[in-house]
């Protein structure tokens, strides 16, 4: 068989519709897991490249996670509504609220606790874990406000692997972008690294990505391509996570 050298490689995709996510309901905590987490195990839903956890969490007023350990994981929290009170074994005491992003590189090990700062209103946040590109690093913490940098109908970089780049940084060759778009806006995303994949998570509204219709909280992974077109079918908010597929 003779292959056409000029023929573009077909992009590969995976769709994770919101309704297909596993759910944990502990009363005070409701969590939707895009990938296997806790006692939920689905061999078809382990990871998307270095992206291992995408939890969509709701915590009741005044409730939260008591002190617990982490190691060897890049842990990113993005509050969507409300605020979290954070304390850790590196003596960080902080409040992280909607419009901010927090990262913990757990490395050799940290302990932390996090609670809903509001006694009455629920806090809603994304908890995202990426495999690190180095094991056993010295633990670190970073928090950054990004909402004052956002421009309408554009993506804003909120995470990268580089200390001097926009957003927080992590021990992985990953880039996160967040954007709010008016209906019918169309934007292109160029991969930073052609070997990476892009995981699109629709926070609000409806969007079309490379011909795939997505609605709120749907996830869509795409790789073996260099750029992706995202079109807002409604006023929408979209999180893009570019991650290594081989790491």
């Amino acid at each position: 068989m003779v292959l056409n050298k000029n023929k573009k490689k077909m992009a590969q995709t995976v769709l994770h519709q919101a309704a297909t996510r596993d759910k944990s309901d502990h009363g005070w905590l409701k969590s939707f897991h895009t990938f296997s987490f806790g006692m939920h195990y689905n061999p078809e839903r382990i990871n998307f490249g270095a992206l291992r956890v995408l939890n969509d969490d709701w915590v009741s007023g005044g409730k939260g996670f008591g002190e617990h350990p982490h190691d060897n994981m890049e842990i990113i929290s993005i509050p969507l509504e409300g605020a979290l009170q954070h304390e850790d074994s590196m003596e960080n005491v902080a409040v992280i609220e909607a419009g901010e992003i927090q990262v913990m590189s757990a490395g050799t090990g940290i302990y932390h606790k996090e609670f809903n700062k509001d006694k009455d209103q629920p806090v809603q946040f994304l908890q995202i874990w990426l495999f690190p590109n180095q094991r056993n690093v010295t633990p670190r913490y970073q928090q950054l406000r990004y909402d004052n940098l956002m421009k309408a109908n554009q993506f804003t970089q909120i995470l990268s692997p580089n200390k001097d780049d926009d957003g927080v940084w992590i021990y992985q060759d990953a880039w996160f972008n967040l954007g709010k778009f008016d209906k019918a806006t169309k934007v292109d995303y160029q991969f930073k690294n052609k070997a990476n994949g892009l995981y699109v998570f629709v926070l609000k509204g409806d969007a079309k990505v490379e011909g795939q219709d997505l609605t709120e909280r749907d996830g869509f992974g795409i790789w073996d391509t260099e750029s992706v077109t995202i079109e807002a079918a409604l006023d929408s908010q979209v999180l893009l996570m570019e991650v290594p597929m081989n790491f």
């Binding site: 987490f37 061999p43 382990i46 350990p69 190691d71 060897n72 994981m73 757990a106 090990g109």
Partner: protein
Amino acid sequence: MKQTEILVICTQQEILNTIVRLINANETMNGTGANTLEQAITVFKSASFDMVLMGAGLTSEEETEFENIVARSRSKIPVVHHYGGGSGLLFAEIYECLGRK
């Protein structure tokens, strides 16, 4: 019913205790902890395990040394890197490993 025997290695004692406690809360599994390379080698040679979870804290040279000891042993059990330090990924790591055996 035979329990799945799991050796957990982690130099942070509190994290080690947490992982072993989580494993032992499952009646089909039994976890044994080691917090140094020397202890891990001793425990590994003294009992029979189905898998090893390599947690945080050993140097990469120590991890390689332990993996070589396992590879040279008759059991040749899988050594899996553990990530996360708690319940989040633990059971998926175990089920993935046992499913591959």
